[in-house]
């Protein structure tokens, strides 16, 4: 972790001076990010690296929020930010707590320059490993120059693994892959609470072929990830000449990857406090039968894949195993600190922020649909003419109208309980409240699936899911032009 030199106690004491009123919430959010991208071979420039760090100070008083954010982490900008959010200036200036981040865990001087301006001693590749700074960085953080080369090789090896996995499906198709490793380190400091630092590490992959595009989030680049990407490429290839299905209303069986997107759009977004508030009081949703009784949906950031698992949210509050739907009934919508103050029935702990420059908002992190007892044959039974939809390319929810759309690049027709001919791109459309009541069976095997990027309100965040397959009956599907 890069925060071993951050004097969190001193920061907390300083923040406490701004919290003049008993109900004031004051916090500081320190963030460091690194992204490394390997573009397709025919793209220039080659390896691409982004490294940044900074912080934000926030004061929440009543229904008003003041926030100041800066690039770089250093004492003087921190003191300036404090003055910008403080509502009353102290007779003397605020003390400048030591807020320097450890330079070496970035693996280079990028962060060092930002950390302390001219005074910052540049860190170096490999310095953390060489110095063995305790608590400084995890194994992946301290790779140094050699580690950076390892990463480049790791990224370069993955397209080869995908190509091999595609060939294992007995097809040979050219694909372009853009791979990116994302890492983020966070430290939230409150005036009364200093939670443990958090970190995330994962990969994103964009596959392009002449038959379509597929995006995936992957906790790690292993054989399973290569197979997941290869299967998507092969699916696009095999459906290349398939006609889009004519509009119909009937059975749709969604595979776990498609269920992940469905859960995100139709359950998580629908149960975010800010979305609920558009229709009235958010807490009025509690106890509402929103979905079929076979749906038990939770948001549990701690149960996400190890690389992205969280114990606290982006406001420093402990995360919980939050039941969004228990037997189809709304139990606990997603809320952050601000919304839980407006609606005391809501429990905070789901505050997320896309960057230090944006305020937090209520969002899901890792959704789970609990498994049912249906075998695959049960899901496909008595569904003649229905569709099996392996993965959704994107989804959307109109917060005002409740209309929900889920787009699929391709699917398979269900005939006599088995998967038959491929079909082309289609859209599942409906009202959230109606659609979720049409779930009739839940598969018994769950799969971890990165649901993808969510960009609500301009805050781009990775969202994860673990889900089984799901059978919906009487849903409307139409061709996607």
């Amino acid at each position: 972790m890069p925060w071993s030199e951050l004097d969190t106690a001193a920061v907390a004491r300083t923040l406490a001076q701004i919290a003049e009123q008993p109900d004031d919430v004051v916090d500081a959010y320190f963030e460091r990010r690194e992204e490394v991208e390997l573009p397709p071979e025919d793209d220039a420039p080659g390896l691409r690296v982004w490294r940044e760090e900074g912080f934000a100070v926030r004061l929440l008083r009543g229904q008003r929020t003041w926030m100041a954010s800066r690039d770089g982490i250093a004492e003087q900008p921190f003191a300036e930010a404090l003055r910008q959010v403080a509502r009353a200036l102290p007779p003397v200036g605020y003390p400048e707590p030591r807020v320097r981040a450890t330079t070496s865990s970035f693996g280079g001087p990028f962060g060092a320059a930002g950390a302390s301006g001219a005074a910052g001693a540049p860190g170096t590749f490999g310095a953390a490993r060489a110095a063995g700074t305790p608590g400084d960085s995890g194994p992946a953080d301290a790779r140094g120059a050699a580690g950076f080369l390892d990463l480049a090789h790791e990224l370069r090896d993955f397209p080869l693994a995908v190509a091999r996995a595609i060939r294992a499906h007995h097809v040979g198709i050219p694909v372009r892959l853009t791979l990116r490793r994302h890492r983020r380190w966070l430290q939230v400091v409150g005036s009364r609470l200093v939670p443990e630092p958090q970190s995330e590490s994962f990969y994103s992959c964009v596959l392009e072929s002449q038959w379509g595009r597929h995006g995936a989030l992957l906790p790690r680049l292993d054989g399973a990830a290569a197979e997941q990407v290869a299967a998507a490429a092969v699916g696009l290839f095999r459906a290349r000449n398939a006609a889009a299905p004519a509009a119909f209303r009937g059975v749709a069986v969604l595979a776990p990857a498609a269920v992940a997107v469905l859960l995100h759009e139709a359950v998580a977004h629908a149960l975010e406090a800010d979305t609920l508030a558009r229709g009235g009081r958010p807490e009025a949703a509690i106890g509402l039968a929103l979905a079929a009784p076979c749906l038990d949906v939770l948001d549990d950031p701690a149960a996400a894949p190890t690389e992205v698992g969280r114990t606290s949210d982006d406001e420093g509050l402990p995360v919980s195993r939050r039941w969004l739907l228990r037997r189809g009934v709304v139990e606990q919508p997603l809320a952050d600190t601000a919304w839980s103050r407006l609606s005391p029935a809501l429990v905070p702990g789901a505050g997320r922020r896309g960057s230090r420059h944006l305020p937090p908002g209520p969002r899901s992190t890792h959704l789970e649909l609990l498994p049912g007892d249906a075998a695959e044959s049960d899901l496909l039974a008595q569904a003649n003419g229905g569709l099996h939809l392996p993965a959704a390319s994107r989804g959307g929810l109109d917060a005002l109208s409740g209309e929900f759309t889920l787009r699929f690049p391709h699917g398979r027709r269900i005939r006599r309980g088995t998967l038959a001919e491929p079909v082309g791109a289609c859209i599942l459309r409906g009202q959230v409240a109606d659609l979720l009541t049409r779930a009739t069976a839940v598969g018994r095997e769950t799969l971890a699936a990165g649901a993808g990027w969510c960009a609500k309100g301009g805050q781009k965040l990775p969202v994860w899911a673990t889900a089984p397959a799901l059978r919906l009956e009487g849903v409307a599907v139409e061709a996607d032009a």
Partner: protein, 465 residues
């Protein structure tokens, strides 16, 4: 050059990085440094948020004859021995992948920075007052209507770009954006949204914006889909195809955004060839499309693009004749007609420059008012807003755009229309432009895209399925 980059220290650091990279065989090297600040004010269902951000960042890309890299970060530009590529203490990643080349510097025509670049950012209370005023004006225009979310962001930045080819430019920018979502009376009320950009936040006028929102909310609440097979479906009583449709700037700009592949990049030449008629025209004589990165008064007005190339006015379509696509300097190789213009944008310091429109617009007719065009519509529609993104069927060359507006008879609005789709082809749209009004306005879409109100024939208005 527009001006000398401020900050000798920054200049020296960039020069040192360039020298170092060139010494190590990376002959094509470029350094961007940027500083910015912005104030963001938001109202959302009774809560207020005020954010002030300061950003400071850099980006470096470099290439040898065989390989290249890109690196970017927040904070000060790394310099010195520790920044050496591939060295144990290096900041730069090893060069891999394909090499690239950078542009040679070009003379930049004189440019006077607009005076509002110097204006201070909008203050916290001033900005919150503007948003609150928007809410109260909306409620006055349409009782029961309310803002769900309103966010105003006002920012300014300075950047310096230097390359190993001797390019040195500095640029100042100023941009404000306003995003508003509102709901009408009733439960659930109809919804409407606006997303606008201007150089300065003080250019947003709450009363005018409230009126725009109220119009859209009213139409969405009481409008009905056009009747199929009737005049409202876009067919004349005689049964001839087409009909007169007045497209407000927001609708025309949304269509322009959907049709950008016909106007941008070398591949546009092949795409547009299918639209040419026997006289070589792709549109009516009323259609002239221009891109101009230094458009006076434009929100993104700047003398140079993201690679330091001079921006200029480029006529893409002139009185219906396709002249050239929008091309970056490295796309001019004889395969596509026309000259390059500075059109490589950097969405932020995190992004590589990529060609695209800056201010791309349909040229207005300064003599024609919207009222005069409306008076000329005997039987048709006035479409005031796009209610969703356009859908394109590339194989069939057809588009669909969800819209709302009014049915028009004898120059007067007779009934609100909602739940409608404007359908047609690019050829029908371009060739069917009968007139352009003088009310050019821009929307922040893919760059700033603009159009005046257009009177068109040959498109269809259908009920949404």
């Amino acid at each position: 050059m527009p001006s000398a980059p401020p900050g000798a220290a920054g200049d020296a650091a960039a020069a040192e990085v360039l020298r170092d990279l060139v010494r190590r065989g990376l002959a094509e090297a470029e350094v961007l440094t940027k500083r910015g600040r912005s104030r963001r004010l938001a109202l959302e269902l009774g809560s207020e948020t005020s954010t002030f951000s300061q950003e400071r960042a850099w980006a470096v890309r470099a290439s040898s004859r065989r390989a290249s890299f890109f690196a970017a970060g927040a904070g000060d530009l790394p310099a010195g021995e520790s920044a050496a590529p591939g060295s144990p203490g290096g900041a730069w990643p090893d060069a891999t992948g394909r090499p690239f080349r950078l542009p040679d510097p070009e003379a930049i025509p004189p440019w006077t920075p607009p005076s509002d670049i110097e204006a201070p950012l909008i203050g916290e209370s001033e900005g919150l007052r503007l948003l609150a005023s928007l809410g109260s004006e909306l409620a006055a225009e349409l009782p029961g209507a309310r803002l769900l979310h309103a966010a105003l962001e006002d920012g300014s930045s300075e950047s310096e770009l230097a390359s190993s080819r001797g390019l040195r430019v500095a640029c100042r920018r100023r941009l404000a954006t306003l995003r508003v979502e509102a709901t009408g009376p009733g439960h659930p009320g109809a919804g409407a949204a606006l997303y606008l950009a201007a150089r300065e936040a003080r250019r947003f006028h709450p009363k005018a914006l409230a009126r725009r929102l109220a119009d859209r909310l009213s139409v969405a609440a009481v409008g009905a889909p056009p009747r199929q097979g009737s005049a409202a479906s876009g067919k004349r009583a005689s049964g001839a195809p087409g009909g007169e449709i007045l497209l407000a700037p927001d609708v025309a700009s949304a269509l322009l955004a959907a049709l950008l592949p016909l106007l941008v990049g070398p591949a546009a030449v092949a795409r547009v060839s299918a639209l040419r008629d026997r006289r070589g025209r792709i549109g009516s004589e009323r259609l002239t499309i221009v891109d101009n990165g230094r458009l006076p008064g434009g929100a993104l007005e700047c003398p140079v693009d993201g690679e330091g190339m001079p921006c200029r006015e480029t006529v893409l379509v002139e009185e219906g004749v396709f002249r050239q696509p929008l091309l970056a300097w490295w796309q001019v190789d004889g395969a596509a007609p026309g000259a390059a213009s500075g059109c490589c944008r950097r969405a932020s310091w995190r992004d590589l420059p990529a060609p695209g429109p800056t201010h791309l617009y349909v040229r207005p007719d300064p003599k024609l008012s919207v009222a005069a065009l409306l008076a000329d519509v005997r039987h048709g529609h006035y479409l005031i807003d796009a209610t969703g993104p356009a859908r394109l069927d590339a194989e069939e060359d057809r588009f669909e755009l969800p819209v709302c507006g009014f049915a028009v008879e004898a120059g007067r609005a007779t009934a609100p229309i909602a739940g409608a789709r404007l359908c047609g082809t690019a050829a029908a749209l371009f060739k069917g432009i009968a007139a352009a009004a003088r009310d050019l306005s821009f929307l922040p879409l893919d760059g700033m895209l603009g159009s005046p109100t257009l009177l068109v024939t040959g498109l269809e208005l259908r009920a949404a399925t």
